[in-house]
């Protein structure tokens, strides 16, 4: 089974207006890749969302485009990323690959795919800018690194892959598909009640507040002290050495003054 997870975002930029609600371009790309992946593997494609009933429109669009099955986990729109991931994991448990969008239209942090991978102990390849489905069993994913560099890695099942919107454009659903999807069944699941495992809760480290002595002297003086070039240690000394030693000395000095690393 191949899965795609999408997030329904109610009303962008007009909140609460279902006419302007939808899923992000990245989620659409995820659905498209799941469909291609499913087709290449001859496998079922399940599309999942955790959200309110209105979100079923996105599922119907995915069904119209060719998804085999659609599941909605009934969660309020403001559920936390980890609850959403837990809910999704309950549905996509044994999928070989799970495709997600890298961000959702409400500027999500993109953390759901990571939570989801952790939840399933699956491999993760997040933020893909290009994808090669290759033979389907092992796919290759290109990701952005700093300085315009790219990293290409191969990923095999089980894996969670999140993609950017530009990776693929969701195909235009055929008319028959659209008509059939209007009445296709959508499985609705209640989320398992999430009971927090108290022992396992990790608290973030936050340094305790410390009392510091009040500043001394006038503000101006303190500023001068911090910024006055005259007060700064002067670099420079006169030495007499032969050229090779002089060169070494210069380099040592530059390092000491942090002009070189």
């Amino acid at each position: 089974m191949i899965a795609a997870c999408v997030k329904w975002v109610a009303g962008v930029p007009e909140p609460g207006d279902e006419r302007f609600a939808g899923i992000s371009a990245a989620d659409q790309a995820a659905v498209e890749l799941a469909l291609r992946h499913g087709a290449s593997m001859g496998d079922d494609v399940v599309v999942v969302t955790a959200g309110p009933p209105a979100a079923e429109r996105a599922l119907r669009e995915a069904l119209a485009a060719g998804a085999t099955r659609a599941v909605r986990v009934d969660l309020p729109a403001d559920a936390t990323s980890s609850d959403v991931a837990t809910a999704l994991a309950g549905v996509v448990g044994d999928a070989a690959f799970v495709w997600c969008g890298d961000y959702s239209t409400d500027r999500g942090s993109g953390s759901v795919p990571a939570f989801l991978a952790a939840e399933r102990s699956a491999r993760q390849a997040l933020g893909a800018v290009a994808v090669d489905l290759a033979d389907g069993a092992t796919i290759s994913v290109t990701r952005r690194l700093d300085g315009g560099r790219r990293e290409v890695s191969t990923v095999s099942a089980p894996a969670v892959v999140s993609v950017e919107g530009a990776v693929a454009r969701l195909r235009r659903a055929g008319l028959a598909g659209v008509l059939a999807a209007r009445t296709a069944p959508i499985e609705v699941r209640r989320p398992a009640v999430v009971v927090p495992d108290v022992a396992a809760i990790v608290h973030a480290y936050r340094p305790r507040a410390r009392t510091l002595p009040p500043p001394h002297g006038s503000t101006l003086d303190r500023l001068r002290e911090l910024t006055d070039a005259a007060a700064a240690p002067a670099h420079g000394e006169t030495v007499h050495l032969d050229p090779a030693d002089a060169a070494d000395r210069i380099l040592t000095a530059l390092r000491a003054w942090s002009y070189l690393t």
Binding site: R19, R172, A173, G174, L175, A176, G177, V178, L179, R182
Partner: protein, 436 residues
């Protein structure tokens, strides 16, 4: 077998005509697909701003309880403008502010969406994001469906109801229009301007949900047409309609013509300080009977603006009610035809009959010459100056000179503006015959 229908009825266009047609067909139990090219019904639709929904009494009882209305029009003004003058006929009534109401301002993306929702609730299958790009014909030439722009996009039906609006490529493809001519169309451009509700209430002298409808002539910088100003809850709609050939033959762009109208001393104070929220444009089929197509062909009917049923006779700008009514009658005729097993021109004759027997064609017949009169050069460019001049001189106190006789003023103003007596008499008679 190729002609085997997928559904009973395809309605193309989720505007008011299409929504009512689909509602009636679906309610009668016919399998009905309603195609809309926009992402939701109303997303492509723009108009001046006032609907007259009384025809909905028959389809959606107590429609006013749920319709997305901005304000109920209780005050209606007609203004005749020259560059510096304004003569206003202003009517207001409490009655229009209570059920069953008269006119109402509404945004089309809201209203059309709401109306199509009723069609869906009646069982019509609304399919958005889908453009009908052509007609399918059977062996006999009969229309048997439409081609859409989706993959595998052919859809077959017993009957197609084309409610695809003013450009109706379907009615044209079906050969229902003999010819189309730019002179039968006007371009409407409009600005939706935000103003706080209290400011609108104060400037327009209304309260609560009461609203104002102002129609203007003489404000379109010499391009034949007219202007309008409508109040929404916290915005006003200001726009002009412009006769296409006249617009094309001069130098001012549409938004400049609006800008000039907005600077008129009678208009400027009403909209001062308002921010532009949305700019929009759309064509209007303006010529009424003079441009109407044949309403049916084998397997297809045409309704609403697609059939040029908009009544745009100067101070009347009613299209939504004509669209809703014609859509409804088209739906009724189709139900009848499908039940009788004859969806050819003969079988669909109930449509033309309903149009003829009701306000749809009765109003058009009565006001047959109105568009031509109201958009004529004399009415557009000379009469505003004449009537404004007459009013000015009647109400001006020029002591010690005594008040002039009305007859004298009339004669002098007519001459000043340059209208021949013969033309004035003829236009007066025409006007009486048309509007009287």
């Amino acid at each position: 077998m190729d002609d085997e229908p997928d559904v009973d009825v395809i309605v193309v266009g989720g505007g008011p005509a299409g929504a009512c047609a689909a509602l009636v067909a679906a309610r009668a139990g016919l399998s009905t697909v309603l195609l809309e090219r926009g992402p939701f019904p109303g997303s492509k639709n723009m108009y001046g701003g006032v609907v007259y929904p009384r025809i909905l009494d028959r389809l959606i009882p107590n429609w006013w309880e749920t319709a997305p209305i901005q304000r109920w029009v209780t005050r209606r003004s007609t203004m005749v403008l020259t560059d510096t003058q304004a003569l206003t006929v202003d009517y207001r009534t409490e009655a229009w502010g209570k059920p069953p109401y008269n006119g109402a301002t509404a945004y089309r993306p809201d209203f059309d969406h709401w109306l199509a929702g009723h069609a869906e609730a009646a069982g019509a299958q609304l399919v958005c994001d889908t453009t009908a790009v052509g007609l399918l014909r059977g062996a006999s030439g009969r229309i048997v469906g439409v081609r859409t722009d989706r993959p595998g996009g052919d859809l077959r039906a017993r009957v197609v109801i084309a409610c695809d609006g003013v450009n109706s490529f379907l009615a044209k493809e079906a050969g229902l229009f003999e010819h189309t001519d730019a002179k039968h169309y006007t371009l409407g451009v409009k600005e939706t301007l935000a103003l706080p509700k209290e400011v609108i209430d104060e400037r327009f002298g209304v309260r609560g949900r009461e609203g104002v409808d102002i129609e203007m002539i003489g404000c379109t910088s010499g391009v034949n047409g007219g202007g309008f100003l409508y109040t929404n809850l916290d915005s006003v709609a200001v726009g002009v309609v412009l006769k296409l050939p006249k617009l094309a033959a001069q130098q001012l762009r549409p938004e400049e013509i609006i800008a000039r109208m907005k600077r008129h001393p009678a208009i400027a104070p009403l909209i001062e300080g308002a921010d532009l929220k949305e700019y929009s444009a759309h064509l209007i089929p303006e010529a009424g009977l003079a441009m109407m197509p044949k309403m049916t062909t084998d397997g297809m009917l045409v309704a609403g603006d697609a059939a040029a049923l908009c009544l745009a006779a100067g101070i009347w700008l009613e299209g939504v009610n004509f669209a809703m009514a014609s859509g409804m009658y088209a739906g009724e005729a189709v139900v009848e035809a499908v039940r009788n097993g004859d969806v050819g021109v003969e079988g669909l004759a109930g449509y033309q009959r309903r149009l003829s027997e009701t306000f749809v064609l009765k109003d058009h017949r009565r006001l047959r010459r109105a568009p031509e009169i109201v958009l004529s050069d004399r009415v557009q460019h000379l009469y505003p100056a004449m009537v404004a001049g007459i009013a000015e001189r009647m109400f001006q106190v020029d002591n010690p000179a005594p008040k002039p006789r009305l007859r004298t003023i009339l004669k002098q103003e007519r001459k000043r503006v340059g209208i021949r007596r013969r033309d004035l008499a003829r236009d007066g008679l025409d006007g009486l015959r048309t509007f009287g």
